[in-house]
Symmetry: none
Subunit: 147 residues, 4 copies
DNA sequence: GTGGTCTAGACCACG
DNA sequence: GTGGTCTAGACCACC
């Protein structure tokens, strides 16, 4: 698998990038002050249009995860790891509640649901390649941001 | 709350309607032979474009859940409750797997997830208003299909 | 003057559009539920690329001022006029404080500043064409949003 | 706060530096003949790219505020304090007009604006730290220009 | 018809 | 070199 971006997925490419970055920050693979790959570089690595990467970066800046220094590059904001992690958690818990409620409404029993969850836990499929990194070597090896 | 359709949701309106109907059949709120509200009536009740309702009905007919009698209306097919229930189940299990995988990737532990599921099971919130039904009074009180 | 958008301005076109819309809502020229001109229509009227208009609309949606109904169009959100007005006011007051502080630091006297303000008030230049509307006839004459 | 340069600001860093210098001259904190910190020194103090400082100095030289003596450094020109003060004033008045026009367009009354201005005048906040100086100790304590 | 997404490629300001 | 903006035009899903 060359890329962890799936062009044919129903979820938009730029959203996939956003999720990757958010997850990388939440999991500590991207640290505050780290520089992200340049728009052009990442777009080449992912074989997508620079605009698509730029859009993802811009969204993440609006969300407060990244900041941009003109002519310098894009960097991870400080003091957002915790919030980022919590947001991830909350989002997941919310969806978990939703789907369990639905399961219950559909007449599934607690045992049954428990089993499914257990089975799911034993797989090691992670949506964002939790392994050290597939293609998205998100942090630039170079330098930290100058302040 | 007048409607259980969320026009601000990211999931398409017609899909929401399809899910509602499927779930209503699976849970027995809609029984084989029951007539559904007319496209026009439902579209007015949901404040939604008639085309949207029509598309949902058409899809459901293709799926085999409904059938249309010209000039009479749209009815629930017979012998599909089991399949419908299974489809519902599959859909839910799929989503369950998804969200659990994501939770795991985000570093949540099995115990933690189990707790959340348990807590969720103890509530009696159902996504589509398991209560007699909010707006989607899907079965017409009138008549059964003459077939 | 055919258009109130200034292509040669240093402020980005999409920002100009955003300001126009925000101001139109704050001033009541656009009311909750009103439909905005379609991306294509506005882009033709302003003689800019559809993407530029779309970007403005999208930003305003993120800001919570607008919402989108797929296939239907873009509408003004409810319950945001007050907040919108207040945000406008706060932004202006903040900038006012800034510039007055700077003026003071530069050694200007209260009288002098007062005079300038008074003179400025007597002009009727408004950045967003407060007149009934220059080109940006922002509300569509047609219909309100269905819900 | 170590620096009065805001790298997250939307106004370019080099412009911020130019404004700082211009204001320092206008307010007498930098006097004709004073030597400015070297490009290298200032860039380190501000944690900014040397090119950025160099560009600011170059611009200011073009504007006639500074002059460079090869091998000696950059100095404040003579006979420009008045012009500098006037330029500052013009810039401020321009911005004042802008913001007042916007306030008016937003429906604020003359009285209201007057009050805000008055209140702002009573504070002693100055944008560039009118206090002896935060980081931008713009004049080098060493020597005056030999000319 | 509507908006959403993406591509290809241009020009600009900043560092 | 960096990102920001804009254009032109494509295809898609939804209504």
């Amino acid at each position: 698998m060359l890329s962890s971006i799936d062009i044919h997925s129903s979820v938009a490419v730029y959203v996939q990038i956003e999720n990757h970055v958010q997850f990388a920050i939440a999991s500590g693979r991207l640290k505050p002050g780290d520089q992200l790959p340049s728009v052009r570089e990442l777009s080449e690595r992912l074989e997508v249009n620079p605009n698509t990467v730029a859009k993802a970066y811009r969204d993440l800046e609006v969300m407060g995860l990244l900041y941009t220094r003109r002519g310098m590059g894009v960097f991870v904001n400080k003091g957002i790891e915790v919030k980022c992690r919590e947001d991830c958690r909350k989002r997941i818990i919310g969806r978990l509640h939703e789907v369990v409620a639905e399961a219950k409404a559909a007449g599934m029993e607690a045992d049954e649901i428990g089993e499914i969850v257990a089975k799911s836990m034993s797989f090691d499929a992670s949506p964002y390649g939790a392994t050290p990194s597939s293609l998205l070597q998100l942090a630039r090896p170079r330098k930290k941001a100058a302040k």
